[in-house]
Symmetry: C2
Amino acid sequence: MVVSIKKATDQEKLAAFQNYDAWVFDLDGTIWKGSGLVPGAKEFIELLRSYQKKVFFVTNNATKSRVTNATKLTGLGIAATTAEVYTSSFAAAAYLKTTGFRKKAYVVGEKGLVDELSAAGITCVGGPEHVGKEVDWTEPEPQVEIDPEIGAVVVGLDRYINYYKLQYATTCLVNNSSCMFIACNTDSRGHFSSSQEWAGAGTMVAAIIGSSEREPMLLGKPASFILDHLCATHQISRDKCVVVGDRLDTDILWGNQNGVATCCVLTGVTSEAQLLSPENKVQPKLYVDSLGDFLTVKPLLPTSCTIM
Amino acid sequence: MVVSIKKATDQEKLAAFQNYDAWVFDLDGTIWKGSGLVPGAKEFIELLRSYQKKVFFVTNNATKSRVTNATKLTGLGIAATTAEVYTSSFAAAAYLKTTGFRKKAYVVGEKGLVDELSAAGITCVGGPEHVGKEVDWTEPEPQVEIDPEIGAVVVGLDRYINYYKLQYATTCLVNNSSCMFIACNTDSRGHFSSSQEWAGAGTMVAAIIGSSEREPMLLGKPASFILDHLCATHQISRDKCVVVGDRLDTDILWGNQNGVATCCVLTGVTSEAQLLSPENKVQPKLYVDSLGDFLTVKPLLPTSCTIM
């Protein structure tokens, strides 16, 4: 049975603030929209920090590295360290490291994905270096030559996708059953501009599932890997952790499936009508219009104990 | 229960020859391999024609038009008319015509698909004219402008796939629920050269399912449309018709699912071991090593009645 929920009251927001020591925020649609911050987001993060709360930023977007995201946050006024930022590209790199991976990765994705894999010591083939590559169909026996050292195909959003890359990835997976198949995320669409939704990483992942007839290991939300890694690395107890995001099928599902409280914000892709619809089976623990709504708890809190 | 089958005896081949009036052949791996004919294919087609059998050629390959395929057959020594050739691109055009379609089609595919749709009077957008198109990501609000007249997205193999085309197709389908979504075929891989398998139309179809979260209408094998059209147009009774092909998941499944006898040849992608494996659930009515095997029926036949 689906229990209907109501917008969080001041008392519920206060209880959340006091109960959760680790706040895990989605970025796009939650902290920022395009190039601008969501009103109140900066002030709420500052409030959390002033009470020694741990703050993390987790995005499925694999086109930008942790460093790039931390720099963008800091530039917008929310000081953030690289260690506080998780991307699905970082997750791919971290996962490969946990398996003791020593071969090369074939990348269907952009620079941010190659940057994260390279930072983890993984040699990459493909990615930006295969932009504009074409099969020579005038050859009597056309062929895409594969590096025999490839041990994983790693797929994220690639706005420079082409047939050469798809064929390269397919051949790696079909000809070598021990080649790993890693999906950074399977988001159908994303928001690179406000005028329209854009085909997301799920497009490239589905294409290669279609051609290779293999199933990938998913590392971004809603898979457990990033929460497992984050809780282990930062010694966070799941009952003291809350995920805050705008997407039901990634952010909220992610927390719900992994034993972590969830809070939905309505500043991104989910409307209040969609959230409260009887057809919606993914319910957050609480919801607010916007991160700025949490600022109403400020006068209710005991004096903050900022470390000087 | 799966009944195990044995290679067709001369008597079984003779019975098939005498029983079936319409022979529906797959092309690649059945009639030809790459640029050369399968040995005996030409002579067997001639034998069928000399006994007034109807002969058809059906391919899922949507990159070449009916005319191009008929020309290639004739060039290889098998005289064939356009009416005897069915491609999944022709099926897409014929299907749209049956629906009274009067809008424009957005094509993710190659020239052969545009040629077939155009021959049916359908105005096409995309296809070869969108090869090399890029989204201008330097714009403050990047956007792919959609022709509001698009009423169907038609997807076949596209070896010049790019993000622009994927985004165009996705936007048509997501923003307009009455826009039709047509898949010429969903073959995972095909054989454009003998050195490796190549990502097939299933790659592009899966990509757009992944981005649009919509399901296409499938028109190529193993969907019923081409058999329905062929039998109706040429007044063929299904119990007098046999499908001959090398692929279990398209050719043989196609016949089995649509009330038509099936014959598997081992000159293409299916080995005898795969065919006879207990794991194979798609069993043809009979199988032969090669089309040339049917020539053993020649001495057993009554005198042919070639029309001079």
